[in-house]
């Protein structure tokens, strides 16, 4: 047990206690949380800053607004419903089309108006928000994922998670939906998480839960070696999200749209630690490298250049940094 503890520490693995105590509490001021906890606010901020996000079709704010859903989506047969304060993908419904009077979800389930209205009403009443506070529901553009990912994902939209520490992208992974995760790109629902080499943007082996997988369980294609398109844009967008919010330790969720390229889905002020398992690399080591060698007043380009140099896979001991520099 003690041996495992030491070996994790020597790998620079970040634990929950340390993430909370030394990073979130230190670099994420509570007052800035609303900017990321409310997806509507994040979306508006991003639009102002010229960062691409899925188009907003409308907002359902009250019980009364639920009837307006049909109007909002009249010209958009495909759309996504998201509680603005939902966490970990809870309460998200993605509609991929219609069959007669019913809505068809991305996983092929048919929902009638009544079910959707009930779901929206639950969401407005705060069933999916932290602490159960009343919420609003965002109706937005449904992302169409690039064909590139078809080989390694089952339905749904894969998304890229980048951990950004004080403006520096430090670690990234792609989350690939599986049958078990019901097409959701959510690791604790059973999606595959695959690490990404920050320098090249190619994927590494993946994990499901805590188990390492080399092939996607549904498509049986190898997970590693996929080149993420527009990788430099993704890095740039993530790095700019630091200036957007001022939060020092965030997870940026980005989707790749077939037509529109990378879009920011949401930001997370308490990003999970599973990304370390997906990369099989400790996050703490990278954060320490950043704290030791990075210039936190640098511009976006320098920051990305630093990240690509310092965090090319695999990242070695902290002591070896002089060579990398």
């Amino acid at each position: 047990m003690l041996f495992r503890y030491r070996s994790l520490a020597s790998q620079g693995v970040l634990g929950l206690n340390k993430r909370n105590g030394d990073y979130i509490l230190k670099f994420n001021p509570r007052s800035l949380y609303p900017l990321v906890d409310d997806k509507l606010k994040t979306k508006r901020l991003a639009l102002q800053a010229g960062i691409a996000v899925p188009e907003l079709y409308g907002v359902i704010e009250t019980q009364h607004d639920i009837r307006r859903l049909a109007d909002i989506v009249r010209d958009h047969p495909e759309f996504a419903l998201k509680p603005a304060h939902g966490s970990a993908g809870d309460g998200i419904v993605v509609i991929a089309g219609r069959s007669a009077a019913r809505y068809r979800t991305i996983s092929g389930m048919l929902l009638d108006d009544g079910f959707l209205a009930h779901h929206l009403s639950n969401a407005i009443n705060g069933q999916f928000s932290l602490g159960g506070v009343p919420d609003v529901v965002i109706v937005e553009y449904m992302v169409r994922f690039s064909a590139l990912f078809e080989r390694v994902s089952f339905q749904g939209v894969p998304d890229v998670r980048v951990i950004v520490f004080r403006g520096y992208p430090v670690m990234a992974m792609v989350r690939l939906p599986t049958r078990i995760s019901h097409g959701k790109a959510n690791l604790h629902q059973g999606a595959v998480g695959a690490g990404i080499d920050l320098a090249s943007g190619t994927t590494l082996d993946g994990v499901i839960g805590t188990e390492v997988v080399t092939h996607h369980p549904d498509t049986a294609n190898p997970v590693a070696g996929v080149q993420i398109p527009d990788w430099d844009t993704i890095l740039e967008i993530s790095a700019r999200c630091y200036e957007l919010t001022g939060l020092g330790y965030i997870g940026v969720d980005i989707v790749l749209d077939r037509d529109l390229g990378p879009l920011v889905l949401e930001l997370n002020a308490r990003p999970g630690l599973a990304i370390q398992i997906a990369n099989r690399q400790g996050l703490l080591r990278r954060l320490e490298i950043c704290e030791q060698y990075a210039d936190f007043s640098a511009g976006v380009e320098q920051r990305i250049a630093f990240a690509k140099r310092a965090f090319a896979h695999p990242v070695g001991e902290v002591l070896g940094m002089d060579v990398v520099m």
């Binding site: 495992r4 994790l8 790998q11 634990g15 929950l16 340390k18 019980q63 629902q189 805590t210």
Partner: protein
């Protein structure tokens, strides 16, 4: 805000808590173990006399300076008498007076006495005694005796012991024969010793007292000789020559006078009686704190009404339960529904006992979940649905109580103490987790909550811990400092070691 700040704060709180704790336990004698009993004795003097035709005054000597023992409570019981107490050279005196009385009169003095090693004899050194007034023959005999005894002794203690030995020989000793006749009592001999010691310029006095026995009944006063050696009082039993104050000897009064006197009456008779009983050590400690002028007892929880005390006995244990949860969450990494929900469940286990608590909790939550899944179908709005679940939970509890009562299962009745609002919220949270993350996660978190609640219950139920926290609430300062220190623990949690096992180099696939 660096760690040193926290360390200093934690150290200060710990020092504060511990020093209060030690003061109360060591100096004031608050018991560390639960249900500690202290022996106490009820001493009683019954004074009977026949009043004369006119005013009557009865004087009783009562204990004042009692080394090794303390008085807790004094009562004077009499009907129609005026009462005064005052200090006299022989100790304290109580005087009953009445202008007119008919028939045999009895007045009582009653006191509670407990052993108190901190109580010492007064430390003022008495003046050298006046040489006794004796006729020429006696004086010569005394001087001869003193010279004799002095030759065979080294200090005050051995001088006294030798003198008492000579006195005890009585008629057989050539000098003593002059002072004592055949019918001398122990008191007479002790008195003679004080006279002879005065001749040798050693302050001495006769102390009368009773032996505090463990069986109830009448006791006779016994005599001790107190001798001052220039620094402290020494005690001698004039009959056995034993030196030192017996631990169960309560000094009642001093001097050569009797225990009681009467003016204007006759047939004076005093009976002393002793009865032993047990008293909660806490009561004695409070009493001692009062005597020492400490306010710690006045401001302690014991000054509250009993019902309120019972509430605080439970409330003070909540932080302990919270500490258990903190350890399990931050060191082990167990997931629970709600941060402190398990503490509240653990509190309700106090009434139901653990096994029944677990069973009842599982029954209610699983039935509530069934109802909740049914309500989900009806597509109720959130708050009405919660209200509905809450109502169903209350009905379930009532039903279970009635059912278990019919079946004669007693613990089912105490189910009413379950925190039903918390249970309703737990059901709601659990069903959402069930929907969103699957049944296994929901059951895992539910079982985790129950395990934590059971552990918290077991820790909160440790009797001596409960006693300790209630008698010494300042120990909660230690809890705060532990919390402060753990609040800065940024190491791994136990379950994280398993979670990140793919990253340990030994079993790394890459």
């Amino acid at each position: 805000m660096n760690n040193r700040h926290i360390y200093i704060l934690a150290a200060v709180l710990t020092a504060l808590g511990l020093s209060l704790f030690f003061y109360k336990s060591r100096v004031l004698g608050f018991p560390i173990a639960p249900q500690a009993q202290t022996q106490i004795w009820t001493i009683e003097a019954a004074v009977t006399f026949e009043p004369g035709p006119a005013a009557v005054k009865a004087t009783l000597r009562i204990p004042g300076l009692t080394p090794g023992h303390s008085l807790m409570d004094e009562n004077f019981i009499s009907r129609g008498f005026g009462l005064t107490t005052r200090s006299a050279p022989a100790g304290r005196e109580a005087q009953w007076a009445v202008r007119q009385a008919n028939g045999t009169q009895t007045v009582y003095y009653r006191a509670l006495v407990y052993r108190d090693p901190n109580r010492k004899a007064e430390d003022t050194t008495p003046a050298f005694p006046e040489p006794p007034q004796l006729d020429e023959a006696s004086k010569i005999a005394m001087e001869g005796l003193i010279a004799d005894v002095r030759r065979q002794s080294a200090d005050v203690a051995s001088f006294t012991a030798e003198l008492l030995r000579r006195i005890n020989q009585g008629q057989a000793d050539q000098y003593i024969r002059l002072f004592l006749d055949r019918t001398s009592t122990a008191a007479d001999r002790a008195h003679l010793a004080t006279v002879l010691l005065a001749g040798a310029q050693i302050p001495a006095r006769v102390a009368h007292g009773v032996v505090l026995r463990d069986r109830a009944g009448v006791v006779r006063p016994e005599v001790l000789l107190e001798v001052h050696d220039g620094e402290q009082w020494l005690y001698f039993n004039p009959a056995t020559l034993q030196q030192g104050l017996p631990p169960d000897f309560l000094i009642w009064w001093r001097g050569d006078e009797g225990l009681a006197q009467i003016e204007g009456g006759s047939d004076l008779n005093v009976t002393l009686a002793v009865q032993q009983s047990q008293l909660d050590a806490i009561v004695i400690a409070e009493r001692r704190a009062q005597q020492l002028g400490s306010h710690s007892a006045e401001f302690s929880l014991f000054s509250l009404p009993i019902a309120t005390q019972a509430v605080y006995a439970v409330l003070l244990m909540i932080p302990i339960g919270a500490v258990v949860i903190m350890l399990l969450r931050n060191f082990i990494g167990i997931k629970t529904f709600g941060t402190f929900m398990p503490v509240l469940v653990a509190l309700s286990f106090r009434e139901t006992r653990l096994l029944w608590g677990l069973v009842l909790f599982a029954i209610i939550v699983s039935m509530g979940l069934l109802i909740r899944f049914y309500l989900e179908k009806l597509r109720l709005l959130l708050v009405p649905r919660l209200t509905c679940v809450l109502t169903v939970v209350v009905l379930l509890m009532a039903g279970l109580s009635v059912l278990s009562h019919r079946l004669g299962i007693q613990p089912g009745l105490s189910i009413a103490l379950f925190p039903m609002v918390i249970i309703s919220m737990t059901i709601e949270r659990m069903s959402i987790v069930w929907d969103e993350r699957g049944a296994s996660e929901a059951i895992q978190e539910g079982v985790g909550s129950l395990i934590v609640a059971a552990l918290a219950y077991l820790v909160m139920g440790i009797v001596w811990l409960e006693h300790l926290i209630f008698v010494f609430p300042e120990l909660l300062l230690l809890v705060i400092s532990v919390t402060l220190l753990i609040g800065r623990y940024t190491g791994y949690r136990l379950l994280e070691l398993r979670r990140f096992k793919a990253m340990a180099p030994g079993d790394d696939a890459t």
